[in-house]
């Protein structure tokens, strides 16, 4: 490409029409209750590593529906299961993370 001396910023827009949501679709087949997340944030608030590594199951689950890279967050999870205890919708978040790790493998 010819160098015109400037670059274009990358668009941050989420385009739901073209976005690849296959990882989310795979996850839903394995953990159907993941659909019930209402983004309350209690998982992120209680997460042992949340305050150091930004981990939040909510962010992970939402992120894969919006094309975000969630690998770093996933790998910081210690599988302590506190988020499973606090989820008001009873989503097995620990199971969700384990399955998502498999999907990413």
């Amino acid at each position: 490409m010819i160098d015109f001396g400037f670059t274009l910023s990358k668009s941050s827009t989420v385009d739901l029409t073209t976005l690849d949501r296959s990882r989310y679709d795979q996850l839903i087949k394995l953990v159907p209750t993941a659909r019930m997340c209402m983004n309350c944030g209690s998982c992120g608030a209680t997460c042992t590593v949340g305050e150091y590594k930004g981990m939040s199951v909510r962010k992970v689950l939402y992120g894969i529906q919006r094309g975000e890279d969630v690998k770093a967050m996933l790998s910081s999870c210690m599988l302590c299961g506190k988020c499973t205890m606090v989820c008001p919708r009873g989503i097995n978040t620990r199971n969700l993370i384990l399955n998502l790790c498999k999907i990413y493998d």
């Binding site: 941050s12 827009t13 989420v14 385009d15 739901l16 029409t17 839903i28 159907p32 209750t33 659909r35 019930m36 997340c37 209402m38 983004n39 939402y62 992120g63 529906q65 919006r66 975000e68 919708r89």
Partner: protein, 338 residues
């Protein structure tokens, strides 16, 4: 002599009150401006939360008011306070002196074309909640394609919108959106269905369960963000823009049909009547109750009562409960004045 009660408006509020007041032994008159009874509900298909069909419901309500004098396509031209109560002159030339008046004039649906950025009346595939109910009732609608791949619902159209002159939450349309989203997913299982909301207001009995079902059983996508604009793509689809406020990024999606949740607004027709009867209008444009806690069904004037959506946004069960309460209040008022 039997006392006369006039009810203005033949929606579910007016119908239910007419039945109760007539059963209490009063001479009951029901004045309805349109050519049918049942009001807005008569145009809906099924009612949340039990998803009952409206047609038989309205039919039952109408057959329960035998003995009530019904004037269709009639309006109140003038109201005048007299010694016996109120003298009403109707547009059909009849004058009635009533000992008590019940206003049950309901609401008006927000005119969606006023939110030009959503393209109602401009683009081919933008409809309202009311249009979708009509379509489900069997009306043909070219704007809904035979096999849509993606359908969107916009919450709060004309509601919670100071610029549109409506600060109030329309209250029923979060549920209507979820109900209609499920109904569309049932008809078009392969379509992706999106609801664009600011917050979900699911306050009523079983409402939250509807939301859970929509997520778990139907995979409906909820996007938190108010749609900012709609445009048409070169191939005639709709492109919708919003901010996904849960992730803090702009978002766009192409849709085949967009359904606008037009809100419940005050009925402007009641303005003249309010002036004539010297009834106060509240800051939200609806009729002003004596207070909004234990006296919603009482106006500031003796002998004039309210029921239903004329005082604010209401669900069907709330409306029906108010109609019954208003009948009893009128009864007590008349016993007191005897």
């Amino acid at each position: 002599m039997k006392q006369n009660i006039v009810i203005i408006g033949g929606g579910i509020a007016g119908l239910e009150a007419a039945k109760q007041i007539h059963n209490l032994g009063y001479q009951t008159f029901l004045v309805e401006k349109s050519d049918h009874l049942g009001g807005h509900v008569a145009s809906w298909h099924r009612l949340f939360p039990d998803m009952i069909a409206t047609k038989p419901l309205i039919k039952d309500m109408i057959s329960a008011i035998k003995g009530v004098t019904v004037f269709l396509e009639t309006q109140v031209n003038d109201v005048e306070g007299v010694r016996e109560g109120y003298r009403l002159s109707l547009s059909n030339g009849i004058n009635i002196t009533a000992q008590a008046v019940l206003v049950a004039s309901g609401f008006q649906l927000f005119e969606a074309q006023r939110k030009e950025e959503y393209g109602y009346g401009i683009y081919d595939h933008v409809i309202t909640n009311a249009d979708l109910e009509a379509w489900m009732n069997g009306n043909k609608d070219q704007r809904i394609p035979a096999a849509p791949k993606a359908i969107g619902f916009v919450h709060c159209v004309g509601s919670r919108d100071l610029k549109a002159g409506n600060s109030q939450c329309s209250k029923v349309c979060c549920m209507t959106a979820i109900k209609q989203a499920i109904e569309m997913k049932e008809r078009f299982p392969n379509a992706e269905v999106y609801c664009f909301y600011m917050d979900l207001r699911l306050f009523g009995k079983k409402y939250e369960d509807f939301y859970i079902n929509a997520q778990r059983d139907f995979g409906i996508h909820f996007v938190r963000g108010r749609v900012s604009e709609v445009s048409e793509t070169i191939d005639g689809r709709l492109q919708v823009k919003a901010e996904d406020t849960l992730i803090g990024r702009p978002l766009k999606v192409q849709l085949d049909t967009l359904v606008l949740m037009s809100g419940m607004c005050c009925n402007p027709l009641i303005q003249k009547l309010a002036e004539q009867a010297r009834l106060e209008i509240d800051s939200d444009g609806f009729l002003k109750s004596r207070d909004n806690i234990t006296n919603i069904i009482e106006s500031g004037r003796e002998g004039i009562f309210f029921a239903g959506a004329c005082t604010g946004t209401k669900t069907v069960p709330e409306t029906v409960a108010e109609a019954r309460a208003a009948a009893l209040s009128i009864h007590n008022y008349l016993l007191q004045n005897d």
